[in-house]
Amino acid sequence: MNELVWIFISSLLINNFVLAYFLGLCPFLGVSGRLETSLRLGLATVFVMLITAFCAWLLNTYVLIYAPYLRLISFIVVIASTVQFIEMVIKRLSPTLFRALGIFLPLITTNCAILGLAIFSTNKGYGLIEGMIYALGAGLGFTLALVLMAGLREESELAPVPRLIRGTAMNLIIAGILSMAFMGFAGLFSAA
């Protein structure tokens, strides 16, 4: 039990996917303009991550032990079809939610955080429960980073920043400072 909590905290804060592993930077920089949209995208990502973790576990246990060299190809195909499938299901069951998510749903396919999650949890040899907890922590960590960034960016729009710095350069520097702040969580290791 204790170990599961540890996996969750570690993937949520200490090894945050965005700020420590640099995964999922494209949506992190591209979609973090508005607080509300980034929250929605984050939650959709959590959802896809959970399903991917489950499928990756299935593949690893039943298929890939016979053909390890197919790992990468099968993961990417699974992710792409999962996203497609979820899109169809949501469209059918809840058109409101579908409209709210909009373009962000298909964009999740190209989010390297999802593929990274599948690969990392395979490399670490996680079982089903650990893998799901890891996915939950990583997804929520991604959401947390995205929401924090969106908040900072909304505030910085009002600040008198020179025009040259505005845009990606400034966002990267903000991300650097945010990442520095998250490094403080590494202290949790020695405390435990």
């Binding site: 592993y21 640099f22 999922g24 930077l25 790992r71 593929l115 690969i119 990442s179």
Partner: protein, 222 residues
């Protein structure tokens, strides 16, 4: 509209500098920041991406008649994933030490949006020769950017370059530069530098145009 045959040399230079995938288009950043904590790692990552991009561009542009429009993205991804698997296994066999250090980031080349972007935007529409040249240019630009970032971070963060001590024993390394925040900060500052160069160039061109226009206006009445 007459089809203009783009110059191969122009295509190459475009990727290397004017449309540099990292500094100008800000693409493919996930693998870029994670592994650039030393110049050697950056070169290995750049080399792997180089091979994958050139090989996939070649294959995509030679197969473009047979790839159905509806499933083209999935086809590109599977082609890219195949080459990434090849690279992954080749690196593990040839340079196990570097492969271990890069770890999970080699498979993640698949999710590099720069590679998929080139297939969709260029290789699928152009001849094999041009597609390969374009891929060579973009890949060199990417390699150059990775190398620049890796060098800066290694020199400042460890006081070394390719493992050779630069500053002697009194240098206090900026540890932060080889840690994740250093990646964000260095890339941010490099982008700022590129913005500044671009801005200066634009202003210079405007001023030159003004001078020309002024000279023309002054000349025409005579």
């Amino acid at each position: 509209m007459p089809k203009v045959q783009p110059d191969a040399y122009q295509e190459f230079i475009k990727g290397l500098w004017r449309d540099n995938p990292v500094f100008v288009q800000v693409l493919g950043m996930c693998p870029m920041l994670a592994v650039t904590n030393s110049a050697v790692n950056a070169l290995a990552m750049g080399g792997a991406t180089f091979f994958v991009l050139v090989a996939s561009s070649f294959l995509v542009s030679s197969l473009k008649q047979w790839i159905p429009k509806q499933v083209r993205i999935s086809t590109y991804i599977i082609i890219i994933a195949t080459f990434v698997t090849v690279t992954d296994f080749a690196l593990a066999a040839l340079v196990p030490a570097i492969h271990k250090e890069l770890g999970a980031f080699i498979p993640l080349i698949v999710a590099n949006c720069m590679i998929l972007g080139r297939q969709e935007a260029f290789a699928a529409k152009n001849s094999v020769r041009l597609a390969v040249v374009d891929a060579l240019g973009m890949a060199s630009g990417f390699l150059f950017a990775l190398f620049a970032l890796g060098s800066v971070r290694e020199i400042l963060g460890e006081g070394k370059f390719f493992g050779i001590d630069l500053f002697g024993p009194n240098f206090e390394p900026w540890v932060i530069m080889v840690l994740p925040p250093g990646g964000f900060l260095t890339l941010g500052l490099l982008l700022l530098f590129f913005n500044w160069v671009g801005e200066r160039k634009k202003r210079l061109a405007e001023r030159l145009a003004d001078v020309d226009a002024g000279a023309d206006a002054g000349m025409t009445p005579q």
